[in-house]
């Protein structure tokens, strides 16, 4: 790993909620054009890391560098302006805006020239959203809201896409589409993707590299194939319900 190259590098970051330490000494990085997956149990601090990259909450120690620029103390909206887009935990779509308006909000960093092209891309990815284009976000079903959140993030033409559990609440088929689409975007546009997943198997299959987080500490990292083959990872995150 050479630090100069990494698009995003999180170095030794600690984050607190009040006095409770949520992340301790987390160091991860994502090189340009990479898909990186972060897996771990619920409550391990995966989403906290996602939010810390966005400055909410702020890292108390450590550094977060995006494309050579220290963004640790940058206000959230300025971080977003660097073209880091996020599909956050809990979807957080604008419930009273229509699907179209939600997508427009996602594209608000851009001049309008790309809007048609990008929205077509999103609608191709999620035809369901096209059917609901004039419906308010809040009236969509849970899975549709998830699609909208991802679509909204894509509308920002991000350089780095942060996805917090993109597969949450989606039908198996749609999950496959999303994962394929992410791979495709990554391949065609060189989009760097950092994703947090509960669906560790799917995430590792998609990703180039992976990190495993336990109690706010990154305990393991390596290529996805290594992690998939690692007996500890398998025991903890891959096996269980599946026979």
């Amino acid at each position: 790993m050479s630090e100069k190259q990494a698009l995003l590098s999180v170095e030794n970051v600690e984050t607190y909620y009040g006095n409770i330490r949520a992340l301790s000494g987390v160091t991860v990085h994502a090189d340009p054009g990479e898909i990186v997956a972060l897996i771990g149990a619920n409550g391990a601090g995966k989403s906290t890391l996602m939010m810390t990259i966005f400055g909410m909450p702020r890292a108390r120690t450590g550094r977060i560098v995006f494309d050579g620029k220290d963004i640790t103390q940058l206000p959230t909206h300025e971080i977003a302006r660097l073209r880091i887009a996020q599909s956050p935990e809990g979807r957080r779509i604008f419930p009273r805006m229509t699907v179209q308006e939600n997508l427009q909000m996602g594209a608000s960093l851009d001049k309008l020239e790309f809007f048609d092209e990008d929205s077509r891309m999103v609608f191709d990815l999620f035809p369901r959203l096209k059917e609901r284009i004039n419906q308010r976000g809040g009236t969509l079903s849970g899975g549709e809201q998830q699609m909208l959140a991802i679509g909204r993030a894509l509308m920002a033409r991000p350089r780095l896409l942060l996805l917090d559990e993109p597969s949450l609440g989606l039908a198996p088929l749609i999950i496959k589409h999303i994962f394929e689409a992410i791979k495709e975007l990554n391949k065609n546009t060189g989009l760097t993707v950092f994703l947090v997943e509960q669906n560790a198997f799917g995430a590792l299959k998609l990703a180039d590299r992976g990190y495993v987080m336990v109690n706010g500490i990154v305990t393991m990292s390596g290529s996805s194939a290594d992690l998939l083959a690692n007996p500890e990872v398998r025991a903890a995150y891959l096996e269980g319900g599946r026979h």
Binding site: E14, Y16, Y17, G18, N19, R21, R60, T61, Q73
Partner: protein
């Protein structure tokens, strides 16, 4: 590394200069007309325009330099301090904090005597001590406790059930007028009318609640606000009954189980063989309102451990989940409204008995706003926090009247009371910046299995009406 730090330092400085200039320009724009010019009447009753460039310059300088200092030094210092803050393990509450309610209660119970004692020592005579204490017991003690009680009552509606009520003063008015009218027309005693006033207010609460509680959030706030105004307008315009803006005067005073506080031979002082003084009645009123306020607190504490109290708090957290658990949210909201209103009614009847005079003037929207501000400042749901907030806000404004020495500085036409609202607003801003969830934002759980732990304010919700 050193380089980057240096450039960082310089860029902060540059940023600070820029922001300082911007703030100064903004201040210039804002204040040039308001402060820079002043119209006065001269001796011939003509309006003349005075220019006050010096004062304007001071305003602009303060804004610019203040912003510069804030950006250049204070913010970085704060950031550095936060960074260095070690991760303290969850601290045990200090003993002072733990026993604060007890200490506070002890102080409240002995307050009048403490005041008398101190003043007696100061004046060198018991009589002087008694007379001198009048002001402190009445203006500070009783006045603050009325607001404590009102805020505790409103706390049930806003703090526990999460229903934003901007017309709370209406129930206060209902209580006050109930006592005033029934006592002047039928000569009923205070002790009979006190519960009746509470019941009337509760009924009004239910009447208001029925149509209104389907509304949420902002809508509920607006409608309750309107309700408060309607009650006041009715009181002003229904002159046959309420005597309109003249108000009702000569309201009977409260008695100590039939013993009146009058100078005559059957009066309290004569019976106990004490020297005549108005202060006994004040002390009696002090204990009366203290009792009523403590009753409110006790009921609130008890109710929180009852299913209904928990349902209120659950309602604040998530109304839909409440319904999914079989809780009738309409009746639950109504009981919250009615209970809050009842305590408002109690406070109202006490107010009427204390003043001996009620008029619509006392029940303006500002009162509702102040009570709500106290609840918010104190921390929604926290009895101790609200009591502190009431003491600070009401005590603070009363204190302003005492600051005579300011006249020596600012000249004789300076009246500190006029700055009451300004200071009130400033204090609110400061507190909200410093403690966004009020003085005591943490919530005490109503039941526990192993150990009672405070619930941090970041988890609790304010409710959506």
């Amino acid at each position: 590394m050193a380089d980057t730090q240096k450039t960082g330092r310089e860029s902060v400085f540059a940023k600070a200069v820029k922001e300082g200039l911007l703030a100064a320009a903004l201040a210039l724009g804002l204040f040039s007309l308001i402060v820079g010019f002043r119209t006065d009447q001269n001796i011939r009753n003509e309006l003349v325009l005075n220019q006050r460039w010096g004062l304007l310059a001071i305003f602009v300088l303060v804004a610019g330099v203040g912003r510069f200092l804030l950006t250049a030094y204070i913010t970085p210092w704060n950031v550095a301090r936060n960074k260095n803050k070690r991760a303290a393990v969850e601290r045990e509450q200090s003993t002072f904090r733990k026993s604060f309610p007890k200490i506070g209660l002890g102080l409240l119970l002995t307050y009048p005597f403490l005041v008398i004692l101190i003043l007696t020592a100061y004046n060198g005579s018991i009589m002087g001590g008694l007379q001198g204490s009048l002001k402190y017991v009445d203006n500070f003690g009783i006045q603050i406790l009325i607001y404590v009680m009102l805020a505790w009552g409103l706390n049930i509606v806003v703090g526990l059930a999460g229903l934003l009520d901007l017309g709370y003063v209406a129930f206060y008015a209902v209580g006050a007028y109930s006592y005033a009218l029934l006592s002047t027309h039928f000569g009923l005693s205070f002790w009979l009318l006190l519960p009746m006033a509470g019941i009337f207010a509760a009924l009004w609460g239910i009447m208001l609640g029925f149509p209104v509680l389907r509304l949420r959030g902002d809508y509920l706030a607006i409608v309750t606000l309107a309700f408060g105004e309607i009650i006041r307008l009715v009181l002003i315009n229904w002159t046959v009954v309420t005597k309109g803006t003249f108000g009702i005067s000569g309201i009977a005073k409260a008695t100590l189980f039939g013993i009146p506080f009058t100078p005559g031979p059957t009066g309290f002082a004569a019976l106990l063989g004490l020297p005549n003084s108005g202060v006994y009645y004040k002390i009696f009123l002090y204990y009366l309102i203290l009792f009523l306020a403590l009753l409110t607190a006790w009921v609130t504490i008890r109710l929180r451990r009852m299913p209904i109290g928990r349902a209120w708090e659950a309602l604040r957290e998530d109304e839909i989940a409440c319904r999914s658990l079989g809780i009738n949210t309409t009746t639950t909201k109504l009981t919250a409204f009615a209970t809050g209103a009842m305590f408002g009614g109690f406070a109202g009847s006490f107010f009427a008995a204390r003043q001996g005079f009620v008029s619509p003037e006392s029940f303006v929207f500002l009162e509702s706003a102040i009570i709500l501000a106290i609840v918010v400042l104190g921390g929604m749901g926290s009895l101790v926090g609200i009591a502190i907030a009431a003491a600070v806000m009401i005590g603070g404004t009363e204190l302003l009247r005492e600051l005579e020495f300011l006249k020596r500085i600012f000249g004789n036409d300076f009246t500190p009371e006029l700055y009451r609202m300004l200071l009130f607003g400033l204090a609110m801003i400061v507190v909200m910046v410093w403690k966004p969830r009020g003085f005591v934002g943490n919530r005490e759980p109503s039941a526990f299995l192993h150990k009672r732990k405070m619930v941090s304010s970041e988890f609790t919700k304010e409710g959506h009406g």
